[in-house]
């Protein structure tokens, strides 16, 4: 087995995880990202880790380039062609506003109205042609658009999911007018109803496609120059990988791939350690991402809003984000109540203690003032040798004085409040999904997650927290442990009584064939293929659907039984004789990659050796042992208060908590 590398290209840092034999950890590091050409940052990371690309079996890779291009509106110049009467679907959305309160502010559609066009054609909801496609008019439009500066054209016709013939014909006509265009048709991207969501998804795909294709080409070229001839796999937002070569037609699938990779890795590490119900908390500089894992599987969201009125209807790991991070700014509101975030000091000016001109106290400053982070070894900082604690204390003093709080009290109050905000979102997320959060373990990661995990766990009532071996680069590791995955879906929207026998089987087996064909096209060595089928169902008239795991061999009675079982589990009852509708049929095809199995090490129970101690504030200054993560071995134990330092993060263990290192090198923190 050769080496593997997992790389997560984030907005600020590119993280790398390297294993020479696919088993051990040989390098973990962070280098600055290079937003102008992100492939350069990736190559920089390989060089910094001293990895010879030719020695690698596979490179696994997550990236934020797609997310950032949408948020910053740096995508391709696109034109949209719709059914006559519906060119505004993309901008209208579904009658909403940005926030519950406040009526100001605007949206910025990815394609302005002046570049949205219509053509005569119309299908009904069964896919029957009501008005044939006006091919001559479309050809004229295509000729005219070919004179304009446009990179990509999207075609989205009403009910195309039921019959893609018009969209396919339109694509041919457009390609004939300009073979250089990227042409995306909505039925290729989402085979489901909801015209706004489907049109938006197709638009995001086209908007990103040229950029992502360019990125894939650049990266492939650079890796080849360095002698790498093997497979590069890219993390998708559904937690599965696809080959770099297939990326150009699935550009929208890699939006938010970094957070997805983190959740995958957290779920995987927790499962190995024996925890199947997990809440993952990823805290970085500006945000806290939380997700729920039930029975080892991260929850999947069907639709995600990338920005106001830009939904993406693709299965994505359901990651919720709030504005709470190391850079979150503390302030006193008009009512005289201390608040933290969501405003962030960002990378520049950053926290006061970073000495880059920041003057407003942040969460990181609070951690620094209380001795929780090591002022003499700033993580990821090249420009300074030591954090400026004096300035941070001065900022705390200024903030706390009107509240009657001292410096340490102010810093501790900031932590209490930001921890409370994160604990609150963590609890709400699980309650929203019908779970009791106390039955879950918390996996804390990200640069700041392990600093705050103990408090979140205490606030939520969680009993165990797992700190992975390399919490600061977990997303990079997540790429390395993931498998290939393709999700396929098709709208049916008919009562079971109206569906001919055999139709369900044919749709599901057809989806399976499609997925397997893509797997074999990926040329990736696989151990096995795992296929899962599901049906989204509801009672006739209901808006919300429930997903039941189904089998292609089942008859209608068995399908209804499966639906009722899920319904009863969710709501405690069923609705009796109301007809059951199949809204859509779904198949996921996963290619499980050949991976060496990580074996647990034997546990040798003994106290962990501390490397030093320093004064850390926990309601009062306490002499606190400092542990070096690299010296912690399976079986070692220690008691809080404790600080654990390592290259990528710092972990805090509160007084009254107990820590032990498990057989996989995770630290498990429990409330004593």
């Amino acid at each position: 087995m050769g080496g593997i590398v997992g790389i997560d290209v984030g907005g600020t840092f590119t993280d790398l995880f390297y294993s020479a034999d696919g088993l051990g950890v040989d390098a973990v590091l962070k280098v600055p990202s290079t937003p102008d050409d992100p492939s350069r940052g990736l190559i920089d990371a390989l060089k910094a880790a001293n990895v010879a690309p030719a020695s690698l079996d596979v490179i696994l890779h997550g990236t934020t380039i797609a997310t950032n291009a949408v948020i910053e509106r740096r995508g391709a110049r696109c034109a949209l062609i719709t059914t006559a009467g519906f060119r505004d679907i993309l901008e209208l959305g579904r009658r909403d506003r940005q926030r519950m309160y406040g009526l100001t502010g605007l949206q910025q559609p990815l394609i302005p109205r002046a570049m949205r066009w219509e053509v005569e054609e119309r299908l009904d909801h069964r896919g029957a042609v009501l008005t044939p496609l006006d091919q001559a008019a479309l050809a004229r439009l295509a000729e005219a658009l070919a004179q304009e500066e446009i990179d990509a054209v999207i075609v989205s016709f009403l009910h195309a999911y039921a019959n893609p013939a018009h969209e396919q014909r339109a694509r041919d006509i457009l390609k004939a007018a300009n073979p250089n265009w990227e042409v995306v048709i909505s039925s290729d991207v989402v085979r489901e109803y909801y015209e706004f969501e489907r049109t938006s998804t197709a638009t995001v795909q086209a908007y990103l496609q040229p950029l992502v294709s360019r990125y894939a080409r650049n990266l492939t070229g650079k890796l080849q120059e360095l002698g790498f001839r093997r497979q590069t796999l890219v993390m998708q937002s559904n937690g599965g990988l696809i080959p770099l070569g297939q990326l150009h037609e699935r550009a929208a699938n890699i939006v938010r791939s970094g957070p997805a990779a983190g959740v995958m890795a957290a779920a995987k590490l927790a499962a190995e350690a024996g925890f199947t119900h997990v809440i993952t908390g990823d805290m970085g500089g500006t945000s806290y991402d939380v997700a729920v894992v039930v029975n080892g599987a991260p929850r999947i969201a069907e639709t995600t809003e990338l920005d106001f009125r830009i939904p993406l209807r693709l299965p994505m790991i359901d990651v919720h984000t709030i504005g709470a991070g190391g850079g979150s700014i503390a302030y006193v509101d008009r009512g005289g109540i201390l608040q933290v975030g969501p405003r962030s000091a960002g990378a520049v000016p950053g926290p006061v203690c970073f000495g880059r001109g920041g003057t407003e106290p942040t969460v990181t400053d609070a951690n620094a003032v209380l001795g929780r982070i090591n002022a003499d070894q700033p993580i990821g900082m090249k420009h300074l040798a030591r954090l400026d604690i004096e300035e941070a204390r001065a900022a705390m003093q200024a903030l706390g004085e009107p509240l009657g709080l001292g410096i340490e009290q102010t810093a501790e109050a900031i932590l209490t409040i930001v921890n409370h905000v994160m604990a609150r979102r963590t609890r709400l997320l699980s309650v929203e999904q019908g779970h009791d959060p106390r039955a879950f373990a918390l996996v804390a990661f990200g640069g700041a997650g392990p600093l705050h995990g103990a408090a979140i766990m205490r606030e939520v009532g969680i009993r165990t927290m797992l700190l992975p071996p390399h919490p600061g680069v977990l997303c990079a590791l997540g790429c390395a442990v993931a498998d290939l995955r393709y999700d396929l879906s098709q709208t049916v929207e008919k009562p079971l009584s109206d569906i001919a026998p055999g139709v369900v089987r044919d749709v599901l087996t057809g989806q399976r064939r499609d997925g397997e064909a893509r797997l074999s096209a990926s040329r990736t060595p696989l151990d096995s293929v795992v296929v899962g089928h599901a049906a989204e169902m509801s009672y006739l008239g209901q808006i919300h659907t429930l997903r039941a795991v189904v089998d292609p061999s089942w008859d209608h009675a068995r399908m209804i039984e499966a639906f009722e079982e899920v319904y009863r589990r969710e709501y405690g009852n069923t609705l009796g004789d109301i007809p059951v509708v199949i809204v859509s049929l779904k198949t996921s095809v996963q290619g499980v990659r050949a991976k060496p199995e990580i074996r647990p090490s034997p546990l040798q129970p003994r106290p962990a050796p501390s490397k030093a101690s320093r004064e850390v504030y926990f309601g009062g200054w306490m002499t606190t042992p400092i542990y070096d993560r690299t010296e912690l071995a399976p079986g070692m134990t220690f008691d809080g208060p404790a600080i654990i330092e390592q290259a990528d993060t710092t972990s805090v263990v509160e007084p009254g908590m107990h820590g032990r290192v498990d057989a996989y090198g995770n630290i498990l923190i429990e409330v004593a």
């Binding site: 519906f86 009526l103 605007l106």
Partner: protein, 589 residues
């Protein structure tokens, strides 16, 4: 008061209310609750009835009227022997609780060590409460009884035991009894969740500390609210706006508001508003007050939602006017009347704080319903299409298009989903060109859509804003008014009440065509950025005539892409043209 405990307790109390919201939204059978969050949950002072905390997921509409309802229920409960552990009170009396009969309110006392500590309350929209029209909405109702059954305030649970006779009485009078029982069970279950949260908090901090925190929270919220009001210049700001008619009598109805700001006190005086309408364009005074707070919160989104924030305000609402409905006035027009409260508060405050206040939004919820039997199944269906529309422009930005009403968060159904479910076909769904009020910032355009029915159906529409346009502010122009056109038997016609029509029979192939209003403009259109005018022109949001006559621009060149014109402005001639127009405009103004 320890500032950290205070912040944490406030967060924890809000969390309890949020969790109650989310629990009901997930468990309710009524799609109106689960899809559009038509519900609210909160925790109230058992003596004053003031809001301690209210969930952040329920509709804005309920922002303050939960408190007013609880305040009215407290003396009623006291007369009936007071609150006892295990009691749950119920009512949907709209004159007491606000809104309409479909919004059912439950109130449950919470005891700590045998002492009444707080009241929990929730409200949820039940799909049908009986009455002459399924769903409870009757555009030509003249009295409440046509709209459904009234549940006066009474104990649904007495010391933990459900009064099954009351439940049987209710279910016997509604069209969807099974669904109602499910929603009732879900709403009562939510209290258990709230109790658990509050008991945990009591165990952690003790009753005395919690009470101190709550008192302090109220004081802080009042201080915060006062700090905003104090920034509004002292003075009196008056506005009158009109409804077209009440759906029964074709005469305009006036809404007059005088806002008086004195230091950090705010008075909303609705004296001069029309007396009770014959038709259903009435709302209770609790809802009128609630919507004033919704408008304030749209202007100052940071204002906290608890009783303290309501303290600096006072209301004068004449009895038996359309904004203080009394028995037996019909109240089904609540969806439209409520929106107008927001409009007039904006209109008055725009005179005082023009930099913070947007122009009028589209101002009509304009619900269109299509009902009949589905030809495929023979089953009865009701499809509901509430208007989207434009928002008013502000100092910050142009107005949004296709917004949801300011008091709501409800969405519009997907065209494809709609055609799957109902025998209807959309002709178009588009931005209504030219409908946003002109201004330095342009009002959002309204929406334009046409729906054809594919079988025999019955159509009802309840809207407004045909005769009186959403207004602009600071020199901004008004938006286009509402437009309702029905086409039956090949003939197109406007209903006699313009945007209100009840139970119009449609045959297969008949259609209706709606154009919702846009939002008003902000500031002088002659000051609009030239590039923005060019973009609007090329997007078709304004036409060439408006660009030249209203925005005062000069066009340099015109080319076309597939027949669609693409204009380029001439900046120099535009500036000259604008300076030539300014004196004219001043004379005209």
């Amino acid at each position: 008061m320890d500032p950290v405990t205070l912040a944490v307790v406030r967060g924890a109390l809000e969390q309890i209310a949020d969790e109650m919201d989310l629990h009901l939204i997930r468990a309710a059978l009524s799609p109106i609750i689960s899809e559009t969050n038509d519900c609210a949950h909160g925790l109230y002072d058992p003596v004053t009835g003031e809001t301690i905390a209210q969930g952040g997921y329920g509709l804005p509409m309920f922002l303050a009227n939960m408190q007013f309802t609880v305040q009215r229920l407290i003396p009623i409960a006291e007369q009936a022997g007071g609150f006892r552990p295990g009691d749950i009170w119920i009512t949907n009396d709209p004159y007491l609780s606000g809104t309409h009969l479909n919004d059912v309110i439950l109130v449950a006392p919470h005891f700590v060590d045998g002492k009444l500590f707080a009241l929990f309350a929730n409200t949820g929209h039940w799909m049908d409460m009986g009455g002459s029209v399924p769903g409870g909405w009757a555009p030509t109702a003249r009295e409440i009884h046509q709209e459904g059954m009234i549940i006066p305030p009474l104990r649904l649970y007495e010391e933990g035991r459900r009064n099954d006779a009351v439940v049987a009485m209710i279910t016997a009078n509604v069209r969807l009894p099974q669904q109602l029982l499910g929603d009732l069970a879900a709403m009562t279950n939510v209290f258990a969740l709230g109790r658990r949260g509050l008991d945990d908090l009591v165990a952690r901090y003790g009753v005395a500390t919690l009470k101190d925190c709550i008192d302090e929270m109220m004081r802080r919220s009042e201080a915060e609210m006062r700090s905003y009001i104090a920034e509004i210049p002292d003075g009196t700001y008056a506005i009158t706006d009109y409804f077209d008619n009440d759906g029964v009598v074709d005469e305009p109805l006036a809404v007059t508001l005088v806002i008086t700001v004195e230091g950090s006190d705010l008075v909303f005086d609705f004296t001069g508003t029309s007396g009770a309408a014959t038709g259903p364009m009435n709302i209770s005074d609790a809802t009128t007050r609630s919507l004033c707070f919704v408008a304030l919160k749209h202007i100052f989104p940071e204002v906290p939602v608890n009783g303290g924030a309501f303290r600096p305000t006072r209301f004068v609402i004449p009895r038996r006017c359309i904004l203080a409905a009394e028995y037996p006035s019909a109240v089904g027009g609540t969806t439209d009347v409520t929106q107008r409260i927001v409009d007039v508060v904006f209109g008055a405050l725009a005179q005082a704080i023009p930099d913070q206040t947007p122009a009028a939004p589209f101002g009509t919820t304009g619900v269109a319903t299509v009902s009949g039997r589905h030809p495929d199944t023979g089953k009865y269906f009701v499809a509901v299409y509430p208007y989207p529309g434009g928002y008013g422009a502000s100092r910050d930005s142009d107005g949004l298009i296709n917004g949801t009403p300011p008091g709501s968060m409800a969405k519009f159904m997907s065209v494809e989903m709609s055609e799957h479910r109902y025998p209807v076909r959309f002709g178009h769904y588009a931005i209504r060109e030219g409908s946003g009020g002109a201004g330095r910032h342009r009002g959002g355009c309204g929406s334009d859509y046409a729906i054809e029915t594919l079988t025999d159906t019955v159509i009802s529409i309840l809207g407004d804003r045909v005769d009186h346009a959403p207004f602009g502010v600071q020199g901004g122009g008004p938006a286009a008014t509402n437009s309702v056109v029905l086409t039956t038997g090949g003939r197109s016609w406007v209903p006699p009440m313009r945007s209100k029509a009840e139970k119009i029979p449609f045959a297969a192939g008949d259609s209706f065509h709606l154009g919702s209003p846009g939002g008003g403009g902000f500031g002088d259109p002659l000051e609009r950025d030239l590039a923005a005018v060019e973009t609007d022109l090329n997007a078709g949001l304004i036409d060439k005539a408006a660009a030249e006559a209203v925005y005062g621009v000069a066009i340099a060149t015109t080319r076309s892409i597939d027949g669609r014109p693409v204009f380029t402005l001439d900046p120099e001639r535009s500036r000259a043209r604008r300076s030539g127009m300014r004196p004219d405009r001043r004379r005209a103004g």
